[in-house]
Amino acid sequence: MLRPAAVVGARALAGTLAVLLVASVLVFGLVRSAPGDPVDVQLGEAGGVGLSRSDIDRIRTERRVELGLDRPLPEQYVRWLGRMVTGDWGTSYVSGRSVRAEVLDRVPASLVLAVSGFAVAVVLAVGLALLASRRPGGPTDQVVRLATLATVAVPSFLLGTLALQVATAATGYRIAGPATAGRIWLPALVLGVAVTPTLSRVLRASLIAERGRLYAVAAQARGASAGRTLLRHVLRPALAPALTLGGLAFASLVTGSVITEAVFSWPGVGRYAVDAISAQDYPVVQAYVVLATALVVLVNRGVDLVQRLVDPRGDARAEAVA
Protein backbone atom coordinates (compact mmCIF):
# COMPACT_ATOMS: atom_id res chain seq x y z
CA MET A 1 0.00 0.00 0.00
CA LEU A 2 1.56 3.19 -1.11
CA ARG A 3 0.46 6.36 0.58
CA PRO A 4 2.19 9.71 0.44
CA ALA A 5 4.82 10.00 3.13
CA ALA A 6 3.18 13.15 4.47
CA VAL A 7 -0.09 11.35 5.09
CA VAL A 8 1.66 8.47 6.80
CA GLY A 9 3.66 10.90 8.91
CA ALA A 10 0.61 12.94 9.86
CA ARG A 11 -1.30 9.84 10.87
CA ALA A 12 1.59 8.57 12.97
CA LEU A 13 1.91 11.96 14.62
CA ALA A 14 -1.80 12.14 15.37
CA GLY A 15 -1.72 8.65 16.85
CA THR A 16 1.26 9.54 18.99
CA LEU A 17 -0.40 12.70 20.25
CA ALA A 18 -3.59 10.84 21.04
CA VAL A 19 -1.72 8.28 23.13
CA LEU A 20 0.08 11.08 24.94
CA LEU A 21 -3.14 12.97 25.65
CA VAL A 22 -4.82 9.89 27.06
CA ALA A 23 -1.76 9.22 29.17
CA SER A 24 -1.77 12.77 30.52
CA VAL A 25 -5.41 12.52 31.61
CA LEU A 26 -4.71 9.19 33.30
CA VAL A 27 -1.65 10.51 35.07
CA PHE A 28 -3.42 13.62 36.26
CA GLY A 29 -6.42 11.67 37.46
CA LEU A 30 -4.36 9.00 39.18
CA VAL A 31 -2.17 11.45 40.99
CA ARG A 32 -5.10 13.57 42.10
CA SER A 33 -6.95 10.56 43.43
CA ALA A 34 -4.10 9.89 45.81
CA PRO A 35 -4.67 10.16 49.52
CA GLY A 36 -3.29 13.23 51.21
CA ASP A 37 -3.12 16.72 49.90
CA PRO A 38 -0.10 18.22 48.18
CA VAL A 39 -0.05 20.93 50.78
CA ASP A 40 0.18 18.35 53.56
CA VAL A 41 3.22 17.01 51.84
CA GLN A 42 4.86 20.39 51.96
CA LEU A 43 3.93 20.88 55.56
CA GLY A 44 4.84 17.33 56.42
CA GLU A 45 7.69 17.94 58.77
CA ALA A 46 6.55 21.34 59.94
CA GLY A 47 4.83 20.09 63.06
CA GLY A 48 8.10 19.74 64.88
CA VAL A 49 8.73 23.45 64.86
CA GLY A 50 5.77 24.06 67.10
CA LEU A 51 2.90 25.31 65.02
CA SER A 52 -0.58 25.15 66.43
CA ARG A 53 -3.26 23.39 64.46
CA SER A 54 -5.01 26.62 63.50
CA ASP A 55 -1.72 27.97 62.15
CA ILE A 56 -1.37 24.93 59.99
CA ASP A 57 -4.92 25.27 58.73
CA ARG A 58 -4.32 28.90 57.82
CA ILE A 59 -1.09 28.09 55.98
CA ARG A 60 -2.77 25.19 54.21
CA THR A 61 -5.60 27.37 52.89
CA GLU A 62 -3.17 30.01 51.66
CA ARG A 63 -1.06 27.42 49.91
CA ARG A 64 -4.04 25.77 48.28
CA VAL A 65 -5.11 29.04 46.71
CA GLU A 66 -1.53 29.74 45.71
CA LEU A 67 -1.26 26.39 43.93
CA GLY A 68 -4.70 26.66 42.35
CA LEU A 69 -5.86 23.54 44.18
CA ASP A 70 -9.16 25.19 45.07
CA ARG A 71 -10.26 25.27 41.43
CA PRO A 72 -12.39 22.60 39.74
CA LEU A 73 -10.40 19.59 38.54
CA PRO A 74 -10.96 20.01 34.78
CA GLU A 75 -9.70 23.56 35.00
CA GLN A 76 -6.68 22.39 36.97
CA TYR A 77 -6.04 19.75 34.31
CA VAL A 78 -6.23 22.18 31.41
CA ARG A 79 -3.96 24.63 33.16
CA TRP A 80 -1.53 21.90 34.04
CA LEU A 81 -1.51 20.54 30.49
CA GLY A 82 -0.97 24.01 29.10
CA ARG A 83 1.99 24.48 31.39
CA MET A 84 3.41 21.04 30.51
CA VAL A 85 3.24 21.87 26.81
CA THR A 86 4.85 25.25 27.23
CA GLY A 87 7.70 23.73 29.19
CA ASP A 88 6.63 24.95 32.62
CA TRP A 89 6.47 21.69 34.50
CA GLY A 90 5.83 23.25 37.85
CA THR A 91 7.83 23.44 41.02
CA SER A 92 8.85 20.50 43.15
CA TYR A 93 7.01 20.58 46.46
CA VAL A 94 9.98 19.04 48.14
CA SER A 95 12.87 21.09 46.83
CA GLY A 96 11.08 24.19 45.57
CA ARG A 97 13.05 24.03 42.33
CA SER A 98 11.65 23.95 38.84
CA VAL A 99 10.74 20.40 37.92
CA ARG A 100 12.10 20.93 34.46
CA ALA A 101 15.47 21.94 35.83
CA GLU A 102 15.50 18.96 38.17
CA VAL A 103 14.50 16.50 35.48
CA LEU A 104 16.87 17.92 32.90
CA ASP A 105 19.65 17.75 35.49
CA ARG A 106 19.12 14.03 35.73
CA VAL A 107 18.15 12.98 32.25
CA PRO A 108 21.71 12.96 30.89
CA ALA A 109 22.88 10.55 33.59
CA SER A 110 20.01 8.17 32.85
CA LEU A 111 20.50 8.48 29.13
CA VAL A 112 24.20 7.78 29.31
CA LEU A 113 23.56 4.80 31.55
CA ALA A 114 20.83 3.48 29.28
CA VAL A 115 22.96 3.86 26.16
CA SER A 116 25.97 2.21 27.77
CA GLY A 117 23.91 -0.57 29.28
CA PHE A 118 22.22 -1.11 25.97
CA ALA A 119 25.54 -1.14 24.13
CA VAL A 120 26.82 -3.80 26.53
CA ALA A 121 23.66 -5.81 25.98
CA VAL A 122 23.86 -5.52 22.20
CA VAL A 123 27.48 -6.60 22.06
CA LEU A 124 26.91 -9.50 24.44
CA ALA A 125 23.63 -10.55 22.85
CA VAL A 126 24.89 -10.46 19.28
CA GLY A 127 28.04 -12.31 20.26
CA LEU A 128 26.21 -14.97 22.22
CA ALA A 129 23.53 -15.36 19.59
CA LEU A 130 26.08 -15.83 16.82
CA LEU A 131 27.99 -18.28 18.96
CA ALA A 132 24.93 -20.24 19.99
CA SER A 133 23.27 -20.34 16.60
CA ARG A 134 26.29 -21.86 14.88
CA ARG A 135 25.25 -25.31 15.95
CA PRO A 136 21.79 -25.29 17.48
CA GLY A 137 21.66 -27.84 20.27
CA GLY A 138 25.43 -28.21 20.26
CA PRO A 139 27.60 -27.88 23.36
CA THR A 140 28.24 -24.15 22.89
CA ASP A 141 24.55 -23.53 22.46
CA GLN A 142 23.79 -25.46 25.64
CA VAL A 143 26.40 -23.63 27.67
CA VAL A 144 25.19 -20.25 26.44
CA ARG A 145 21.64 -21.34 27.11
CA LEU A 146 22.34 -22.35 30.69
CA ALA A 147 24.32 -19.20 31.36
CA THR A 148 21.52 -16.97 30.10
CA LEU A 149 18.94 -18.97 32.02
CA ALA A 150 20.89 -18.51 35.21
CA THR A 151 21.26 -14.80 34.51
CA VAL A 152 17.54 -14.37 33.98
CA ALA A 153 16.94 -16.02 37.33
CA VAL A 154 19.15 -13.60 39.25
CA PRO A 155 17.02 -10.57 40.09
CA SER A 156 18.82 -7.44 38.96
CA PHE A 157 18.89 -5.95 42.44
CA LEU A 158 20.71 -9.00 43.70
CA LEU A 159 23.15 -8.93 40.81
CA GLY A 160 23.70 -5.20 41.33
CA THR A 161 24.26 -5.49 45.05
CA LEU A 162 26.73 -8.31 44.64
CA ALA A 163 28.57 -6.53 41.86
CA LEU A 164 28.78 -3.40 43.95
CA GLN A 165 30.17 -5.29 46.95
CA VAL A 166 32.76 -7.04 44.87
CA ALA A 167 33.80 -3.99 42.88
CA THR A 168 34.08 -1.85 45.99
CA ALA A 169 36.27 -4.38 47.71
CA ALA A 170 38.35 -5.19 44.65
CA THR A 171 38.78 -1.91 42.82
CA GLY A 172 37.75 0.77 45.27
CA TYR A 173 34.76 1.51 43.12
CA ARG A 174 33.04 4.69 44.25
CA ILE A 175 29.71 3.71 45.73
CA ALA A 176 28.06 7.06 45.23
CA GLY A 177 28.94 10.11 43.27
CA PRO A 178 28.26 12.00 40.10
CA ALA A 179 27.66 10.34 36.76
CA THR A 180 31.25 9.93 35.66
CA ALA A 181 32.98 7.52 33.33
CA GLY A 182 34.73 6.02 36.33
CA ARG A 183 31.42 4.99 37.80
CA ILE A 184 29.29 4.09 34.82
CA TRP A 185 30.93 0.86 33.79
CA LEU A 186 29.56 -1.17 36.66
CA PRO A 187 25.86 -0.22 36.45
CA ALA A 188 26.13 -0.36 32.65
CA LEU A 189 27.51 -3.86 32.90
CA VAL A 190 24.82 -4.95 35.33
CA LEU A 191 22.06 -3.46 33.19
CA GLY A 192 23.56 -4.93 30.06
CA VAL A 193 23.87 -8.37 31.57
CA ALA A 194 20.29 -8.19 32.79
CA VAL A 195 18.95 -7.33 29.34
CA THR A 196 21.22 -9.67 27.39
CA PRO A 197 19.40 -13.00 27.88
CA THR A 198 16.09 -12.01 26.31
CA LEU A 199 17.81 -10.17 23.52
CA SER A 200 20.23 -12.93 22.69
CA ARG A 201 17.53 -15.56 22.88
CA VAL A 202 15.35 -13.81 20.33
CA LEU A 203 18.31 -13.17 18.10
CA ARG A 204 19.48 -16.75 18.37
CA ALA A 205 16.03 -18.08 17.57
CA SER A 206 15.58 -15.83 14.59
CA LEU A 207 19.11 -16.52 13.32
CA ILE A 208 18.44 -20.23 13.47
CA ALA A 209 15.06 -19.78 11.83
CA GLU A 210 16.40 -17.60 9.02
CA ARG A 211 19.38 -19.87 8.53
CA GLY A 212 17.04 -22.77 7.98
CA ARG A 213 15.12 -20.92 5.30
CA LEU A 214 15.45 -21.91 1.69
CA TYR A 215 17.14 -18.71 0.62
CA ALA A 216 20.03 -19.35 3.01
CA VAL A 217 20.49 -22.83 1.57
CA ALA A 218 20.22 -21.30 -1.89
CA ALA A 219 22.96 -18.80 -1.11
CA GLN A 220 25.24 -21.63 -0.06
CA ALA A 221 24.30 -23.62 -3.11
CA ARG A 222 25.48 -20.65 -5.15
CA GLY A 223 28.82 -20.80 -3.44
CA ALA A 224 28.49 -18.27 -0.63
CA SER A 225 30.67 -19.17 2.34
CA ALA A 226 29.09 -19.68 5.78
CA GLY A 227 30.27 -16.25 6.89
CA ARG A 228 29.00 -14.52 3.80
CA THR A 229 25.67 -16.31 4.07
CA LEU A 230 25.37 -15.09 7.64
CA LEU A 231 26.34 -11.49 7.09
CA ARG A 232 24.91 -10.79 3.68
CA HIS A 233 21.85 -12.99 3.63
CA VAL A 234 20.67 -14.06 7.05
CA LEU A 235 21.62 -11.32 9.50
CA ARG A 236 19.40 -8.54 8.27
CA PRO A 237 16.14 -10.47 8.11
CA ALA A 238 17.00 -12.02 11.46
CA LEU A 239 17.44 -8.62 13.08
CA ALA A 240 13.83 -7.53 12.76
CA PRO A 241 12.30 -9.33 15.73
CA ALA A 242 15.30 -8.51 17.90
CA LEU A 243 14.95 -4.86 16.95
CA THR A 244 11.44 -4.60 18.34
CA LEU A 245 12.60 -6.18 21.52
CA GLY A 246 15.71 -4.03 21.63
CA GLY A 247 13.73 -0.84 21.17
CA LEU A 248 11.40 -1.65 23.97
CA ALA A 249 14.29 -2.68 26.17
CA PHE A 250 16.00 0.60 25.45
CA ALA A 251 12.89 2.62 26.27
CA SER A 252 12.50 0.88 29.55
CA LEU A 253 16.19 1.32 30.29
CA VAL A 254 15.96 5.08 29.83
CA THR A 255 12.89 5.50 31.97
CA GLY A 256 13.00 2.60 34.23
CA SER A 257 16.36 1.39 35.42
CA VAL A 258 15.01 2.33 38.80
CA ILE A 259 16.42 -0.51 40.79
CA THR A 260 19.86 -0.34 39.27
CA GLU A 261 19.99 3.41 39.74
CA ALA A 262 18.98 2.91 43.35
CA VAL A 263 21.56 0.23 44.01
CA PHE A 264 24.36 2.27 42.46
CA SER A 265 23.14 5.65 43.77
CA TRP A 266 23.21 6.77 40.17
CA PRO A 267 21.95 10.34 39.93
CA GLY A 268 19.46 9.51 37.21
CA VAL A 269 15.86 10.17 36.60
CA GLY A 270 14.62 6.75 37.70
CA ARG A 271 15.97 7.10 41.19
CA TYR A 272 14.64 10.66 41.26
CA ALA A 273 11.18 9.41 40.35
CA VAL A 274 11.25 6.86 43.15
CA ASP A 275 12.17 9.53 45.64
CA ALA A 276 9.45 11.81 44.30
CA ILE A 277 6.90 9.03 44.48
CA SER A 278 7.68 8.24 48.07
CA ALA A 279 7.68 11.94 48.94
CA GLN A 280 4.37 12.45 47.09
CA ASP A 281 5.96 15.20 45.07
CA TYR A 282 3.04 15.52 42.67
CA PRO A 283 4.45 17.88 40.03
CA VAL A 284 7.51 15.71 39.71
CA VAL A 285 5.54 12.47 39.51
CA GLN A 286 3.16 13.93 36.94
CA ALA A 287 5.89 15.38 34.78
CA TYR A 288 7.96 12.23 35.02
CA VAL A 289 5.21 9.84 34.07
CA VAL A 290 4.10 11.98 31.14
CA LEU A 291 7.68 12.29 29.94
CA ALA A 292 8.30 8.60 30.34
CA THR A 293 5.18 7.84 28.35
CA ALA A 294 6.23 10.28 25.66
CA LEU A 295 9.62 8.64 25.51
CA VAL A 296 8.20 5.16 25.29
CA VAL A 297 5.83 6.20 22.53
CA LEU A 298 8.60 7.97 20.65
CA VAL A 299 11.00 5.07 20.96
CA ASN A 300 8.23 2.77 19.74
CA ARG A 301 7.76 4.97 16.70
CA GLY A 302 11.51 5.16 16.17
CA VAL A 303 11.80 1.41 16.31
CA ASP A 304 8.99 1.14 13.76
CA LEU A 305 10.95 3.42 11.47
CA VAL A 306 14.24 1.62 11.89
CA GLN A 307 12.52 -1.66 11.44
CA ARG A 308 10.99 -0.47 8.22
CA LEU A 309 14.45 0.53 7.05
CA VAL A 310 16.02 -2.74 8.06
CA ASP A 311 13.19 -4.90 6.84
CA PRO A 312 10.94 -3.09 4.37
CA ARG A 313 8.72 -6.09 3.93
CA GLY A 314 6.23 -4.31 6.13
CA ASP A 315 3.68 -5.14 8.73
CA ALA A 316 2.44 -8.42 7.37
CA ARG A 317 5.63 -10.21 8.14
CA ALA A 318 6.42 -8.28 11.31
CA GLU A 319 3.04 -9.32 12.56
CA ALA A 320 3.71 -12.92 11.78
CA VAL A 321 6.79 -12.99 14.00
CA ALA A 322 5.92 -10.35 16.54
Binding site: P35, A153, T198, T244, A249, L253, G256, S257, A322
Partner: protein
Protein backbone atom coordinates in the same frame (compact mmCIF):
# COMPACT_ATOMS: atom_id res chain seq x y z
CA UNK B 1 10.74 -4.91 29.43
CA UNK B 2 8.71 -4.74 29.08
CA UNK B 3 8.94 -5.65 26.76
CA UNK B 4 7.48 -7.82 23.96
CA UNK B 5 6.61 -11.06 22.69
CA UNK B 6 6.41 -12.85 19.53
CA UNK B 7 4.56 -15.92 18.68
CA UNK B 8 3.14 -17.83 15.86
CA UNK B 9 0.59 -20.44 16.31
CA UNK B 10 1.77 -23.74 15.01
CA UNK B 11 -0.56 -25.91 13.08
CA UNK B 12 -1.08 -29.11 14.88
CA UNK B 13 1.60 -28.64 17.50
CA UNK B 14 0.73 -30.92 20.30
CA UNK B 15 2.67 -30.41 23.41
CA UNK B 16 2.15 -33.85 24.76
CA UNK B 17 3.56 -35.35 21.61
CA UNK B 18 6.50 -33.01 21.66
CA UNK B 19 7.15 -33.90 25.27
CA UNK B 20 7.19 -37.53 24.37
CA UNK B 21 9.55 -36.94 21.47
CA UNK B 22 12.94 -37.99 22.74
CA UNK B 23 14.68 -36.35 19.83
CA UNK B 24 14.39 -32.95 21.53
CA UNK B 25 16.28 -33.43 24.76
CA UNK B 26 17.07 -29.83 25.83
CA UNK B 27 13.46 -28.67 26.07
CA UNK B 28 12.39 -31.85 27.78
CA UNK B 29 15.20 -31.75 30.28
CA UNK B 30 14.50 -28.11 31.10
CA UNK B 31 10.81 -28.68 31.61
CA UNK B 32 11.40 -31.72 33.77
CA UNK B 33 14.16 -30.10 35.83
CA UNK B 34 12.21 -26.88 36.23
CA UNK B 35 9.01 -28.65 37.18
CA UNK B 36 10.75 -30.82 39.75
CA UNK B 37 12.46 -27.80 41.24
CA UNK B 38 9.25 -25.80 41.26
CA UNK B 39 7.28 -28.65 42.79
CA UNK B 40 9.93 -28.92 45.45
CA UNK B 41 9.77 -25.23 46.26
CA UNK B 42 5.97 -25.27 46.37
CA UNK B 43 5.93 -28.38 48.53
CA UNK B 44 8.46 -27.05 51.00
CA UNK B 45 6.66 -23.73 51.18
CA UNK B 46 3.25 -25.35 51.63
CA UNK B 47 4.34 -27.46 54.55
CA UNK B 48 6.32 -24.57 56.04
CA UNK B 49 4.16 -24.29 59.19
CA UNK B 50 5.02 -27.89 60.06
CA UNK B 51 8.66 -27.95 59.12
CA UNK B 52 9.68 -24.43 60.12
CA UNK B 53 11.55 -24.83 63.40
CA UNK B 54 10.34 -21.53 64.90
CA UNK B 55 7.64 -18.90 64.75
CA UNK B 56 8.88 -16.61 61.97
CA UNK B 57 7.77 -13.49 63.84
CA UNK B 58 9.03 -14.50 67.26
CA UNK B 59 11.89 -12.25 68.26
CA UNK B 60 14.85 -13.34 70.32
CA UNK B 61 14.18 -17.02 69.88
CA UNK B 62 17.91 -17.07 69.52
CA UNK B 63 20.83 -14.75 69.92
CA UNK B 64 20.80 -11.78 67.56
CA UNK B 65 22.66 -12.10 64.28
CA UNK B 66 23.79 -15.59 65.17
CA UNK B 67 25.79 -17.35 62.48
CA UNK B 68 24.37 -20.59 61.11
CA UNK B 69 25.10 -23.27 63.68
CA UNK B 70 23.36 -25.56 66.16
CA UNK B 71 19.68 -25.03 66.78
CA UNK B 72 19.50 -22.12 64.37
CA UNK B 73 21.19 -23.94 61.54
CA UNK B 74 20.49 -21.06 59.20
CA UNK B 75 21.31 -18.33 61.67
CA UNK B 76 19.17 -15.52 63.04
CA UNK B 77 18.51 -11.95 62.01
CA UNK B 78 19.04 -8.85 64.06
CA UNK B 79 15.73 -9.29 65.84
CA UNK B 80 16.88 -12.73 66.89
CA UNK B 81 14.39 -14.42 64.54
CA UNK B 82 15.14 -17.74 62.93
CA UNK B 83 16.18 -17.20 59.30
CA UNK B 84 15.08 -20.56 57.95
CA UNK B 85 11.63 -20.20 59.47
CA UNK B 86 11.29 -16.79 57.91
CA UNK B 87 12.41 -17.91 54.48
CA UNK B 88 9.95 -20.80 54.59
CA UNK B 89 7.04 -18.67 55.73
CA UNK B 90 7.97 -15.85 53.40
CA UNK B 91 7.61 -18.14 50.44
CA UNK B 92 4.02 -18.94 51.35
CA UNK B 93 2.99 -15.38 51.02
CA UNK B 94 5.11 -14.65 47.98
CA UNK B 95 3.95 -17.67 46.03
CA UNK B 96 0.29 -17.46 46.98
CA UNK B 97 -0.11 -13.79 46.24
CA UNK B 98 1.92 -13.98 43.04
CA UNK B 99 -0.13 -16.91 41.83
CA UNK B 100 -3.37 -15.04 42.50
CA UNK B 101 -2.07 -11.94 40.74
CA UNK B 102 -0.85 -13.96 37.81
CA UNK B 103 -4.25 -15.60 37.43
CA UNK B 104 -5.94 -12.21 37.31
CA UNK B 105 -3.32 -10.82 34.93
CA UNK B 106 -3.61 -13.74 32.53
CA UNK B 107 -7.40 -13.58 32.55
CA UNK B 108 -7.46 -9.86 31.78
CA UNK B 109 -4.71 -10.12 29.17
CA UNK B 110 -6.24 -13.04 27.32
CA UNK B 111 -9.69 -11.44 27.23
CA UNK B 112 -8.36 -8.08 26.05
CA UNK B 113 -6.09 -9.73 23.49
CA UNK B 114 -8.94 -11.84 22.16
CA UNK B 115 -11.22 -8.83 21.82
CA UNK B 116 -8.54 -6.93 19.92
CA UNK B 117 -7.71 -9.97 17.83
CA UNK B 118 -11.32 -10.31 16.75
CA UNK B 119 -11.75 -6.61 16.07
CA UNK B 120 -11.69 -5.04 12.63
CA UNK B 121 -8.59 -3.36 11.22
CA UNK B 122 -9.25 -0.04 12.96
CA UNK B 123 -10.02 -1.54 16.34
CA UNK B 124 -7.03 -3.81 15.94
CA UNK B 125 -4.73 -0.92 15.09
CA UNK B 126 -5.88 1.15 18.06
CA UNK B 127 -5.83 -1.80 20.43
CA UNK B 128 -2.40 -2.82 19.28
CA UNK B 129 -1.02 0.66 19.82
CA UNK B 130 -2.42 0.88 23.32
CA UNK B 131 -1.15 -2.56 24.24
CA UNK B 132 2.26 -1.87 22.73
CA UNK B 133 2.55 1.30 24.76
CA UNK B 134 1.59 -0.47 27.94
CA UNK B 135 3.99 -3.31 27.15
CA UNK B 136 6.79 -0.86 26.61
CA UNK B 137 6.00 1.11 29.71
CA UNK B 138 8.39 0.28 32.50
CA UNK B 139 6.36 -1.85 34.87
CA UNK B 140 8.46 -0.85 37.84
CA UNK B 141 7.54 2.81 37.39
CA UNK B 142 3.83 2.13 37.18
CA UNK B 143 3.94 -0.10 40.19
CA UNK B 144 5.90 2.49 42.11
CA UNK B 145 3.42 5.19 41.18
CA UNK B 146 0.60 2.97 42.31
CA UNK B 147 2.41 2.21 45.53
CA UNK B 148 2.88 5.93 45.98
CA UNK B 149 -0.88 6.35 45.84
CA UNK B 150 -1.88 3.40 48.00
CA UNK B 151 1.01 3.27 50.38
CA UNK B 152 3.72 0.63 50.39
CA UNK B 153 2.38 -2.87 50.85
CA UNK B 154 2.44 -6.19 49.04
CA UNK B 155 -1.16 -5.83 47.83
CA UNK B 156 -0.34 -2.37 46.47
CA UNK B 157 2.63 -3.75 44.54
CA UNK B 158 0.54 -6.51 43.07
CA UNK B 159 -2.32 -4.13 42.34
CA UNK B 160 0.15 -1.98 40.46
CA UNK B 161 1.44 -5.04 38.65
CA UNK B 162 -2.10 -5.79 37.58
CA UNK B 163 -2.20 -2.40 35.86
CA UNK B 164 0.58 -3.26 33.42
CA UNK B 165 1.30 -6.95 33.53
CA UNK B 166 -1.73 -7.95 31.49
CA UNK B 167 -0.32 -6.23 28.43
CA UNK B 168 2.23 -8.84 27.29
CA UNK B 169 -0.50 -11.44 27.54
CA UNK B 170 -2.89 -9.28 25.56
CA UNK B 171 -0.22 -8.73 22.94
CA UNK B 172 0.60 -12.39 22.65
CA UNK B 173 -3.04 -13.40 22.64
CA UNK B 174 -3.88 -10.89 19.93
CA UNK B 175 -1.07 -12.17 17.71
CA UNK B 176 -2.05 -15.78 18.35
CA UNK B 177 -5.73 -15.14 17.72
CA UNK B 178 -5.02 -13.44 14.43
CA UNK B 179 -2.55 -16.08 13.35
CA UNK B 180 -4.94 -18.86 14.33
CA UNK B 181 -7.79 -17.26 12.43
CA UNK B 182 -5.56 -17.06 9.35
CA UNK B 183 -4.76 -20.77 9.48
CA UNK B 184 -6.30 -22.70 6.56
CA UNK B 185 -8.36 -24.80 8.94
CA UNK B 186 -9.88 -21.69 10.56
CA UNK B 187 -10.54 -20.03 7.21
CA UNK B 188 -12.17 -23.19 5.95
CA UNK B 189 -14.28 -23.54 9.07
CA UNK B 190 -15.40 -19.95 8.66
CA UNK B 191 -16.29 -20.55 5.04
CA UNK B 192 -18.31 -23.58 6.10
CA UNK B 193 -20.28 -21.41 8.50
CA UNK B 194 -18.52 -21.68 11.86
CA UNK B 195 -19.45 -19.03 14.42
CA UNK B 196 -16.81 -16.90 16.15
CA UNK B 197 -17.40 -18.79 19.34
CA UNK B 198 -16.76 -22.08 17.61
CA UNK B 199 -13.60 -20.70 16.00
CA UNK B 200 -12.36 -19.44 19.37
CA UNK B 201 -13.08 -22.78 20.98
CA UNK B 202 -11.72 -25.14 18.35
CA UNK B 203 -9.19 -23.15 16.34
CA UNK B 204 -7.83 -20.47 18.65
CA UNK B 205 -7.83 -22.07 22.08
CA UNK B 206 -5.59 -25.03 21.26
CA UNK B 207 -3.10 -22.71 19.59
CA UNK B 208 -3.21 -20.33 22.55
CA UNK B 209 -2.62 -22.67 25.44
CA UNK B 210 1.01 -23.53 24.77
CA UNK B 211 2.49 -20.09 24.09
CA UNK B 212 0.44 -18.48 26.86
CA UNK B 213 1.62 -21.21 29.21
CA UNK B 214 5.20 -20.39 28.32
CA UNK B 215 4.60 -16.74 28.96
CA UNK B 216 2.89 -17.51 32.27
CA UNK B 217 5.91 -19.46 33.48
CA UNK B 218 8.41 -16.84 32.41
CA UNK B 219 6.35 -13.90 33.62
CA UNK B 220 5.60 -15.47 36.97
CA UNK B 221 9.32 -15.71 37.52
CA UNK B 222 9.74 -12.10 36.51
CA UNK B 223 6.87 -11.01 38.74
CA UNK B 224 8.42 -12.74 41.74
CA UNK B 225 11.72 -11.08 40.99
CA UNK B 226 10.06 -7.69 40.56
CA UNK B 227 8.06 -8.00 43.77
CA UNK B 228 11.23 -8.94 45.58
CA UNK B 229 12.98 -5.98 43.96
CA UNK B 230 10.30 -3.57 45.09
CA UNK B 231 10.25 -4.98 48.58
CA UNK B 232 13.98 -4.49 48.41
CA UNK B 233 13.36 -0.79 47.74
CA UNK B 234 11.04 -0.73 50.73
CA UNK B 235 7.93 -0.44 48.57
CA UNK B 236 6.55 -3.92 48.91
CA UNK B 237 5.97 -6.20 51.86
CA UNK B 238 6.20 -4.51 55.23
CA UNK B 239 7.84 -5.73 58.40
CA UNK B 240 7.61 -8.08 60.07
CA UNK B 241 6.29 -9.97 57.04
CA UNK B 242 9.06 -12.35 56.07
CA UNK B 243 8.85 -11.56 52.37
CA UNK B 244 12.03 -12.56 50.54
CA UNK B 245 12.79 -9.19 48.98
CA UNK B 246 12.13 -7.36 52.22
CA UNK B 247 14.40 -9.80 54.05
CA UNK B 248 17.11 -9.14 51.51
CA UNK B 249 16.69 -5.40 51.86
CA UNK B 250 16.98 -5.73 55.60
CA UNK B 251 20.06 -7.88 55.27
CA UNK B 252 21.85 -5.62 52.82
CA UNK B 253 23.74 -3.68 55.43
CA UNK B 254 24.94 -6.81 57.11
CA UNK B 255 25.81 -8.72 53.96
CA UNK B 256 29.48 -9.01 54.79
CA UNK B 257 29.31 -9.82 58.49
CA UNK B 258 26.21 -12.01 58.30
CA UNK B 259 26.11 -13.49 54.81
CA UNK B 260 23.54 -16.05 55.91
CA UNK B 261 20.92 -13.31 55.97
CA UNK B 262 21.43 -12.72 52.26
CA UNK B 263 21.97 -16.33 51.31
CA UNK B 264 18.64 -17.72 52.52
CA UNK B 265 16.16 -15.37 50.86
CA UNK B 266 18.53 -14.79 47.94
CA UNK B 267 18.68 -18.48 47.14
CA UNK B 268 14.94 -18.78 47.61
CA UNK B 269 14.26 -16.07 45.01
CA UNK B 270 16.90 -17.46 42.71
CA UNK B 271 15.73 -21.04 42.81
CA UNK B 272 12.07 -20.15 42.37
CA UNK B 273 12.70 -17.81 39.46
CA UNK B 274 15.15 -20.27 37.93
CA UNK B 275 12.63 -23.10 38.15
CA UNK B 276 9.91 -21.02 36.52
CA UNK B 277 12.27 -19.78 33.84
CA UNK B 278 13.42 -23.32 33.08
CA UNK B 279 9.85 -24.51 32.72
CA UNK B 280 9.03 -21.58 30.48
CA UNK B 281 12.14 -21.96 28.37
CA UNK B 282 11.71 -25.67 28.03
CA UNK B 283 8.09 -25.34 27.01
CA UNK B 284 9.11 -22.68 24.55
CA UNK B 285 11.64 -25.06 23.11
CA UNK B 286 9.07 -27.76 22.79
CA UNK B 287 6.61 -25.44 21.15
CA UNK B 288 9.44 -24.07 19.05
CA UNK B 289 8.09 -20.58 19.41
CA UNK B 290 9.60 -17.54 20.93
CA UNK B 291 7.64 -15.59 23.48
CA UNK B 292 9.15 -13.15 25.89
CA UNK B 293 9.10 -9.85 27.58
CA UNK B 294 12.09 -7.85 28.69
CA UNK B 295 12.00 -6.22 32.06
CA UNK B 296 15.31 -4.80 33.03
Amino acid sequence: MRLLDSARAGAGTRLRERLRDRARPPGRALVVAGSVLLALVVLVVLVAPWIAPFDPAAQRVGPRLAPPEGEHWSGTDRFGRDTASRVLHGGRQTLLVTAATMAAVVAVGVVVGTVIGLAGPRGDDLGRRVVDTVVAFPAVIVILAFVGLRGPSLPAVLGGALLVWWAPFARLTRALVRAALAEPSAVTARALGASRLHLLRTEVRPRLVGPVGVLVAVETGQLIATVAGLSFLGMGAQPPDPEWGAMLADARGAALSSPHLVLGPGLAVLVTVLALTCVGEGLRDLLDRSTQVVRP
